[in-house]
């Protein structure tokens, strides 16, 4: 069967998109990698874990309930590794249905086909390398959030929390509440940067109150909050034991003992799927980095391919459901499942909601935008690509040898060729290239490659007879 709409990713955008489309009678398939829908912010607890409900939990439950009522088919725990169809057809052939190749929760392969595809891939946390960043005990802010939110597990007993953006304070406050000592909060942003973000937050008193509550909790616990500071190094042998921090403008270092360092330098839209479909992208640092080019409804440059939520440019979880609804309505319209006037009527509300929520999200995205100075400070012997062990010096050497873009850098050094496919190192490596060639646009990005996630050969192989392998005609002798 060919679905009307397939939705990839069941965060707030994907849940809302699926529910909206299914409510209008479309046959919708929603695919999610996690065991339950929710995404990062509205993550559900796995079976056997009970975590107290908070505002995020309640918002997530509402989206989950709407999804369950909508009639959309949800498949969780599945790893989508292959993308095809759409524009990826032989020369002269008409566009095909989109094809998603996946493994289900048991590891069994399946294929889903759909006339339209809505991508809600979310973001990847950016970590700009520093000495010691690969030491055990150093975790991403997002990873810490998953531990805290879904499992109620502490990443350590005494933490340094560092990086940029609201997640910094959210994680620090949650750690305190859960009984973890917070040695310091090390914020890249200055007080002035936060002050500039305030007007955009004025329309969101809930966010302001939440932020104020986090700060108050840190103040009560007498946690040092260092503005405009960064981590210089994480030190320790087998595991992190202390962290050295310094003002971003230079100056005296301070040392904090800890057994975990939680670090996140912002969020970048996950563009693996849009790159694989060869959609047009633009570099928008204020939205997190490379983003697919879209219209206001989430249509990409590829016919019947849509993107919504933070994957379209970081605007935050509050804006994501409206973005998802807009993309779903655009897909319904493009498939002829609703009329032009129905579309005009139904998109007005989500358009308004999105604009209003996105204002605060955009302000937060600006605070989380990549900071070239942080990349410039990476020492030469520091590993940038941890999968392949490529240091900054090796990257600079490849640039000396004539690499001028991300694809050539990858070839010259193997940077980004490992299991993460550049998700972790890509931002830092691209900044290093950009510094030489005159900007991120010229540095480009690595061509999108399948599989989207490493895929176990055994699952792909299944049981087969040699005679059934469709070996092509022999090569000429």
């Amino acid at each position: 069967m060919i679905w009307d709409i397939a939705v990839l990713g069941a965060g707030p955008a994907g849940m809302a998109a699926s529910a909206e489309a299914a409510r209008h009678g479309a046959r919708v398939m929603l695919l999610e990698e996690s065991p339950a829908p929710g995404g990062q912010v509205y993550r559900a607890s796995p079976a056997g874990f009970t975590v107290p409900r908070d505002a995020d939990g309640r918002a997530g439950d509402a989206l989950r309930a709407a999804l369950a009522e909508s009639g959309a088919k949800l498949r969780t725990g599945c790893r989508v590794w292959g993308l095809g169809g759409g524009p990826l057809v032989p020369e002269g052939a008409p566009a095909a249905p989109f094809r998603l190749d996946a493994l289900d929760a048991e590891g069994t392969p399946f294929t889903a086909e759909a006339r339209a595809l809505v991508l809600c891939p979310g973001t990847t946390e950016r970590v700009i390398p520093f000495p010691g960043w690969t030491t055990p005990g150093v975790l991403g802010l997002a990873a810490a959030t998953i531990l805290l939110k879904s499992a109620g597990v502490l990443p350590g007993r005494r933490a340094v929390v560092s990086g940029a953006g609201p997640l910094l304070y959210a994680v620090a406050a949650k750690l305190l509440k859960a009984g973890c000592e917070v040695a310091a909060v090390v914020d890249l942003a200055s007080a002035a940067e936060w002050a500039r973000a305030l007007p955009a937050l004025a329309a969101r008193p809930d966010l302001l109150a939440q932020g104020a509550a986090w700060r108050a909790r840190l103040l009560r616990a007498r946690v040092p909050v260092l503005a405009a500071h960064s981590v210089v190094a994480a030190e320790g042998g087998e595991a992190v034991a202390r962290v050295r921090v310094a003002p971003v403008s230079g100056g005296a270092e301070r040392v904090f003992d800890c057994d975990t360092l939680l670090v996140g330098h912002g969020l970048s839209p996950a563009t693996e799927a849009t790159r694989a479909f060869r959609a047009a992208h633009r570099y928008a640092p204020e939205s997190g980095g490379w983003v697919p080019v879209t219209d206001a409804d989430g249509r990409t440059s590829v016919v019947r391919l849509y993107v919504a939520g933070d994957g379209a440019g970081v605007r935050g979880a509050a804006a994501a459901p409206a973005g998802g609804r807009l993309a779903a309505l655009a897909a319904l319209r493009d498939l002829g499942l609703i009329t032009a006037s129905e579309h005009d009527t139904t998109r007005a509300a989500p358009m308004r909601d999105h604009a209003s929520a996105a204002r605060a999200g955009a302000a937060m995205a600006r605070v989380m935008a990549i900071r070239p100075a942080l990349v410039a400070a990476i020492p030469r012997d520091c590993v940038v690509c941890r999968c392949e062990g490529v240091t900054r010096a090796e990257i600079e050497h490849a640039l000396d040898d004539g690499a001028e873009d991300m694809n050539q850098l990858k070839q010259f050094t193997r940077c980004g060729m490992g299991p993460c496919q550049g998700r972790v190192c890509g931002e830092a490596a691209a900044e290093l290239v950009a510094a030489r060639v005159g900007g991120r646009e010229r540095a480009g990005f690595a061509t999108g490659r399948l599989p989207l996630r490493p895929v176990p050969m055994a699952a792909l192989l299944g049981e087969f007879d040699y005679a059934d392998i469709p070996v092509p005609a022999p090569a000429p002798l």
Binding site: G84, D401, G402, A403, E404, F412, Q421, P454, P456, P472
Partner: protein
């Protein structure tokens, strides 16, 4: 300024030709619409095998094999981490065994030291091999490179030989006025007394600039690589039909190739993996080395290969256009590449090539305007 020779296309053929011409004293420009060795030369499987090479090309491939493995000596230290190791081409069925015998005989006659060995002997040479093999061709001269290093390996040698490398400079057309050529590029014209077309699958369009109709077929080869895994093999493996190439790199990753077709074309490049061919290719690989079943696939990609009507190379002068030369469409062209460029340079500089070129007259006769 007028160059002695302008070479259009900076893949392994163009780079090699440029290097040897410059070392012979010519003033050489090497142009590419993209970066050096970023198309087929940088993304192929890096196989240096005789058992996938066309019989007619074996003498060339044997010489190129030695060039690859000793590249640092002639490329100012540049190298592609070439590994020399034995190779096995295997048969699982009687039909494949017959094909293997026939092909091994032809390749042996052309100079490749291939001997047919029993399954037991084959598994001594390659303990990772499946027990379902019924016959194997064994060639002690085999090996592989890390093809993604090719551009970097050539670049230093080209620069020190005095070649002017013009990356990201697409040629839109060629004019021939008087005794010289003018290359039309967005960055301005470039003048040269001779030109060499070395544009891989794009040779057909390049030949058309000179009024020559040379049909070139485009193959869209899929490649697959696994994550790093513990050693599972130590040779280069193929199958009788030539539709598998398999080797494990020092870092533990296993590269699976063989020319299974993906989606793409000359204009768009390789754009999509064909899921059925992807699965077929990895099944064939795992049938050959069962331990691969435990690996995870980390990446698949595509490379474009050019093929003439008779699947033999196009290397030589372009008939009717004095000073214009062509090099490309060499089956398993990466394997033979460094040597082919050296041969063409010998001819361009007025010498007698060590081995015969592959003039394109035979490919034009039926299409002559």
């Amino acid at each position: 300024m007028t160059y002695d020779t302008a070479i259009i296309g900076a893949g392994v053929m163009g780079c090699s030709t440029a290097l040897h011409l410059a070392r012979a004293g010519m003033r050489v420009a090497l142009l590419d619409r993209g970066a050096i060795c970023r198309e087929a030369s940088g993304v192929n499987a890096g196989t240096l095998t005789m058992q996938m090479t066309r019989a007619a090309l074996i003498p060339y491939a044997l010489r190129a094999h030695e060039m690859w493995t000793r590249m640092a000596e002639w490329a100012d230290g540049g190298h592609v981490r070439a590994v020399a190791c034995p190779g096995l081409s295997v048969a699982f069925t009687e039909h494949e065994a017959a094909m293997l015998e026939q092909r091994a005989t032809a390749r042996r006659a052309a100079g490749a030291p291939i001997e047919l060995v029993s399954p037991a002997r084959a598994r001594e040479i390659e303990p990772g091999l499946s027990d379902r093999v019924i016959l194997a061709g064994h060639c002690p001269i085999d090996g592989f490179t890390s093809a993604y290093l090719t551009g970097r390996a050539y670049r230093g040698a080209l620069v020190s030989a005095g070649v002017d490398i013009h990356e990201n400079r697409a040629v839109r057309g060629v004019d021939r006025v008087g005794g010289a050529f003018t290359l039309d590029t967005a960055a301005g014209p470039l003048a040269a007394r001779r030109i060499v077309l070395a544009g891989g699958v794009w040779l057909e369009g390049m030949a058309a600039w000179l009024g020559v109709h040379l049909p070139i077929k485009v193959l869209i080869n899929q490649l697959v690589v696994t994550e790093r895994i513990a050693p599972v093999m130590r040779t280069v493996l193929g199958v009788a039909s030539g539709l598998l190439s398999l080797k494990q790199y020092e870092n533990g990753s296993v590269l699976i190739g063989g020319g299974w077709q993906g989606i793409g074309d000359r204009a768009r490049g390789g754009i999509g993996v064909k899921a059925d061919n992807f699965i077929g290719n990895v099944r064939l690989a795992a049938h050959t080395v069962p331990a691969l079943r435990e690996a995870r696939v980390v990446r698949a990609w595509l490379g474009l290969e050019a093929e003439t009507a008779d699947a033999l190379p196009a290397i030589g002068p372009i008939p009717g256009v004095d000073g214009a030369w062509i090099i490309g469409s060499v089956h398993s062209g990466y394997t033979s590449g460094p040597y082919m460029g050296r041969l063409l340079a010998q001819a361009i500089t007025g010498g007698e090539p060590e081995l015969p070129l592959f003039p394109i007259d035979r490919l034009l006769a039926r299409h002559a305007a």
